[in-house]
Symmetry: C2
Subunit: 199 residues, 2 copies
């Protein structure tokens, strides 16, 4: 049985359908929204519609943008011969935040995951292969997450790209800066030793 | 610097302005919304507008409803001579869930809180006094939360209502059903002893 007005219940249902929002949180959010000034509620509703309608994928790198090529692909300051392959648009933001990488990106929009029935055709892999086949690319950096699915995806793509004679690299495994050997897991420590470099 | 399309940033800002949603969660929610089928995104936006526009307060009990008197006030199965005073609409839902209470409610929409500059005029106290002054009410049950502000609000209102010759009661303090004496705090245990009843 419902103890709230139907429109409030409907809004609660909408919030509860979002990832990571439980029923109680959804109710709190719905209460907050009905207490907003009407202009702010309209602005929120409009922001949802605008974002849903205007955000598309860049035809080159598949990152999110609003029509045409994205800011990174259309910039003449970026090195187009180096492509960093990431799983999600938010990974582009993470790498950009480091302010060191000057190449371009390719966003897969996921990783291979047989458990979740996600195969190569569900990702933007064919677009990457076309890009590399088109020429002008020297290095492809695989920057998927260092977990089983990310590793498998990187491995799969590197095998697809090798025939084109392009250099395929993987971001380094090792101990994170500022962390502690004592609390580093065995697998990471092993990889850090394997990946050691001359000083 | 922003690494996402402006409309996505705007939606992230909207989510981040909600209570209890941090920047990272807001971003995840915004990504989820742009990945929804367009119909679902429109439904979400419409739910916000509808809830904001159609939810009003019941003119009698001040609970949330959609125009006219709320379902509880307009029901002829409820005992109109007993009024349970609660701080928030969600408290009505909590009490209704117990399926035991047959009276009606009065929602204050907050509690007295000098620290947050919330005084009697910011709550629906005058409407409660008018209801009681209008007659036909035998008992007012103060069911604000058992904390400092809830207690102070209950005390303040009981003093306002006493002159009308109405019985004003407070919900019982004590140990919660299913809990444990060992882990009950001193203040609660003291109140439980004070409130002991004949078996």
């Amino acid at each position: 049985m419902s103890f709230f007005p139907p429109s409030l219940e409907r809004l609660t249902d909408c919030f509860a359908a979002l990832p990571g929002i439980g029923r109680k949180s959804a109710q709190r959010l719905a209460f907050h929204v009905i207490s907003l000034p009407e202009g702010e509620a309209e602005d929120f509703a409009d922001a949802i519609l605008q974002a849903r309608r205007s955000v598309v994928c860049c035809p080159v790198c598949q990152n999110l943008c609003e029509g045409g090529e994205c800011a990174i692909c259309s910039s003449d300051k970026r090195d187009k011969s180096t492509v960093c392959v990431v799983a999600q648009p938010r990974d582009v933001a993470s790498i950009e935040r480091s302010r060191e990488y000057g190449g371009v990106y390719h966003v897969l929009h996921g990783v291979l995951s047989p458990m979740n029935h996600i195969g190569p055709d569900d990702l933007r892999i064919s677009q990457l292969v076309e890009r590399v086949a088109g020429g002008g690319i020297d290095e492809v950096i695989m920057a998927t997450n260092p977990d089983t699915e990310g590793d498998a995806t990187a491995m799969y793509i590197s095998r697809l790209l090798k025939p084109f004679g392009v250099r395929v690299t993987r971001i380094a495994y090792g101990i994170p800066v500022g962390s502690n050997l004592e609390f580093t897991d065995d697998a990471t420590l092993l990889r850090a030793l394997e990946g050691r470099r001359e000083m």
